[in-house]
Symmetry: D2
Subunit: 312 residues, 4 copies
């Protein structure tokens, strides 16, 4: 692929420039597994729709996907239940609220605004948990592994220690889930819905994996090996929501600075997709006050400009 010609040196340069440009950002502090991570870690990976993949930095380092898993769970739910059924449970509009706000729900007495805020991702998890019961997390892991181009013997898995930490410090998510159960927005049990939600947040991946997921989306749903993993209709939904709601209440600024569909997580990772061209992922743990990787956003902005990834 022509545009991949000098990609390796571009990624190396980004790594050198941005690894330490974290501007006083802080790693997430609510669980020790995130708080204690080395803030100097940095990794960036790019994978073309044809499956060529290049990385620079700590690309072997696994980290929990956190909110990035919301892309995977939404894709899984859309493939399994269809858009009509999913969007009866969750909206598709961006919002300027913090990711864990209850207020919008209470005012509207209604469904969560979109599947990338916590309340929306919990309703998506609830749909899956209700349908698949105890098999849910295995099914999601299999699907995520396919998207990431992982071989069957090397599937993605849940970090149990992180999952337990998540479950034990998630007051706000328990509040959201009980609230939605009280309004009828959540019909499955609070406990099983959150169990799956916490498990999905705790799936471990590295930037190589995430760039392959981005490439699968960029390729219209075909994995690097040419297998259809996601339908084109689902891909349009993912791209649309990643464009408008992917970076919490920093989504608008990201659209200005980077201009690409993406999803961030408090792990410090960002999964990005360039439709028709490639998947990109970056990882740097220190976060800005909205929960997005400081260096990650900068590196993606630089690459977007340099490679004219938004078409300009």
């Amino acid at each position: 692929m022509k545009e991949f010609k000098n990609i390796r040196e571009k990624l190396d340069r980004l790594e050198k420039t941005y690894r330490s440009m974290t501007d006083g950002g802080k790693t997430a502090s609510y669980i020790p597994e995130l708080a204690d991570v080395n803030p100097r870690l940095f990794s960036i990976s790019a994978t073309s729709v044809g499956g060529e993949s290049f990385s620079s930095g700590d690309s072997d380092t696994l980290f929990s996907m956190q909110s990035i898993s919301k892309v995977v769970s939404l894709a899984f739910a859309l493939e399994r239940f269809g858009a009509e059924r999913v969007f009866k449970k969750v909206g598709m509009e961006p919002c300027a609220e913090p990711f864990n706000s209850i207020m919008k729900l209470e005012i509207s007495s209604n469904i969560p605004l979109n599947p990338f805020i916590n309340s929306g991702a919990i309703t998506v998890a609830s749909l899956i948990a209700e349908d698949l019961g105890g098999d849910a997390i295995d099914a999601v892991l299999e699907f995520a592994s396919l998207c990431a181009g992982r071989r069957p013997e090397n599937k993605l898995s849940v970090n149990e220690k992180i999952r337990e930490s998540e479950a034990s410090t998630a007051d706000r998510n328990w509040a959201l889930a009980y609230f939605m159960h009280s309004t009828g927005a959540l019909t499955h049990t609070v406990k099983d819905s959150l169990d799956l939600y916490f498990s999905m947040c705790s799936i471990e991946a590295n930037t190589v994996d995430l760039s392959f997921i981005g490439a699968t989306i960029a390729n219209g749903g075909l994995s690097a090996s040419g297998v259809r993993v996601i339908s084109l209709d689902t891909v349009y939904i993912l791209i649309g929501l990643m464009s408008t709601c992917g970076l919490y209440n920093g989504s608008g600024e990201f659209a200005v600075r980077v201009g690409l569909p993406a999803k961030s997580g408090v792990c410090g990772g960002i999964l990005c997709t360039v439709p028709g061209r490639m998947g990109i992922s970056v990882f740097s743990p220190p976060l800005d006050e909205r929960g997005n990787s400081v260096a990650g956003v900068k590196a993606l902005g630089a690459l977007s400009r340099e490679m004219k990834l938004r078409g300009l």
Copy 2:
């Protein structure tokens, strides 16, 4: 331009298919000039970054730009004052509130969320009015005409009758402006700020004009005749905000269905840009309950898929 080869027949087909697919939508009712427009009007125009332009339908029909003018006023303000000064007065985050909500402002005691909701566009108008006084509207018209590729002797102009109707029925905008003046978010006088705001909403254009503006943005800020009208930095801001906030509280759904940077108005027009490729504009007055042209969104969705305008 290769992709423009069959554009005429594509536009003709869209016009035939969508002119009457308005699904019970209603024209805006708050002023007679909008309420009494013929709901059967339909026009679609596409202009390449090279300046080739094709239209189908009622492309001679002029209509007031309404909220589409928010793109022009933001671009003008960014060019004149710089991003730093503008974004001290207005944010860049999408919101799920209706365009004329006061609530978000009151909760945050802060600046409007983005320049494409009324409160944000009023603060932008206020900046311009404060700086240019009575010359403001002429300067904006000149700038808009340049973006639209209009010749100097054929500049865009304000429809005075519509401007007066706007001013006399704009309770909510007066409320927003007085509220912002009380919190200090608006520093210029309420009256002069709104006067300019209403004038800009009442600029008349047709879909050819709007597709040229879209093409100028798509071309990185160079007009069809190769003149730099907008800087690339401003273009990135416009594209980012049009992607996330351009269709009121239907922006997320539009990102899913069409997937292109755009701005709608209650006139029934939509201005759309395909970075690096073309500008597109559609006009059909009947609106859905969020204020977006029903047939316009459909036609753009069909064209986006057919021509793989989002890269897929």
Copy 3:
């Protein structure tokens, strides 16, 4: 007491007139113990500050105090911890929100508005549970029994079946408690705080008991037998909050129609106090849409006018 001369016939007349004036009100439906209660039950009791007590109707019928227990738990907490410590955890302002709203908390990121909405009563319960551990409910029951003039061998007790039903259907309260735990408004464990809260809601009493509690408050904190049970400072707080916040988001209308300090519960009971004169309690299960006993409010309004209980 002079004004008690014809009290028996007044109560009898009220019972006859209002027992069936329930205007389409509905019993609380969220647990079977409340939903299945006989809607024709009616009881009214008045007890003078001197301890004379008269009743009419089903005054032997015990019912769970529900929100009326919030008066008892607040009084208990004020006596035990002092006003300063209690009002660090909860405010003293009325609100027009429904009793179980999370929104106000989220906007203010702060303490609950007053101790008579659920969030506020949960923080009060939490204070008590944190201090007394497993002995909390017994201590509260002993205190409530003293206020109600019950003999030691005949203390008030918790209806365990109702307590279990409450605990298992209280999604909104779990949401509130987890939310407050996440913001730091609640420092004790969610589970223990709610356990005590549900237990207190499930204390059973009849209108005779409640009118004695009202008389103790009306008597400046001295029980019918002349023992100081509540300090005068606490009485002023109870009277002030019952005047402004006692009937959920119907408190203003009640102040207009009845004009007396009171507290209602979804059991259909209302506890009312006439400072310096008497306690009054009424019970009729069908509720209006704000959760207040329809016939209870009417009967109290009639008695207030007839006996000029508000001083006029």
Copy 4:
């Protein structure tokens, strides 16, 4: 009247004690007429239902009634239009919002919560202005003068300078009125409604006048000279709303500390009524952060305890 025996020395003692106990409170700053008032002014007056009246301090000093006029305008509207018609335009529930909040209106898309917040008082003014046109303020002044026991040749009047200052600095009130006009909550013109509202806020009175108004209410609507000025039904409404909503978002705390129906204004005055017994008024300009007179609340609290005005 027995309880008035030592009233003069009580008032003198209160004046001495509280004139300077303003705890860092500040006079209202939004107009010069309020900002520049002498913060050491202090006056307290008590008038029995029989018409005996005693004062201490600067009781000749006139001040603009500000929000205290909301009691008069509500009483006037209730007498003229009846409760049913008035309470179609405004609710009767207290709220913890600041007096000039737009948010509650926007969330409920509905009528103002009560007639003592600005939005509610503006709808009441609007009703009167719509009915009486240019004669409105004279009719209100005549009514207020009757309530205050003023002789016909000595009627209350509007301070024109204050009225003009109010009108020119009332951004938030203009915002409220335009907002309510946009939702249909206000049907009369914004300008005429606010003109009357500002005029009523600018009626000048002293604490003697206000204590007479309080006595008229305390006397069930009969003025000191025995003339019926207000119906008993209206009195019940005034007392109910003054008990729950009279001191802005400090109404709950006032109910605890003082426990009497009252209405405050940013002039530093408080009008208080003791049903069946007397009217009391206090004036001291420095305000707490909620807009209530610091020393005024303290003095009323002391008098309420000493004279057991709440019945205890």
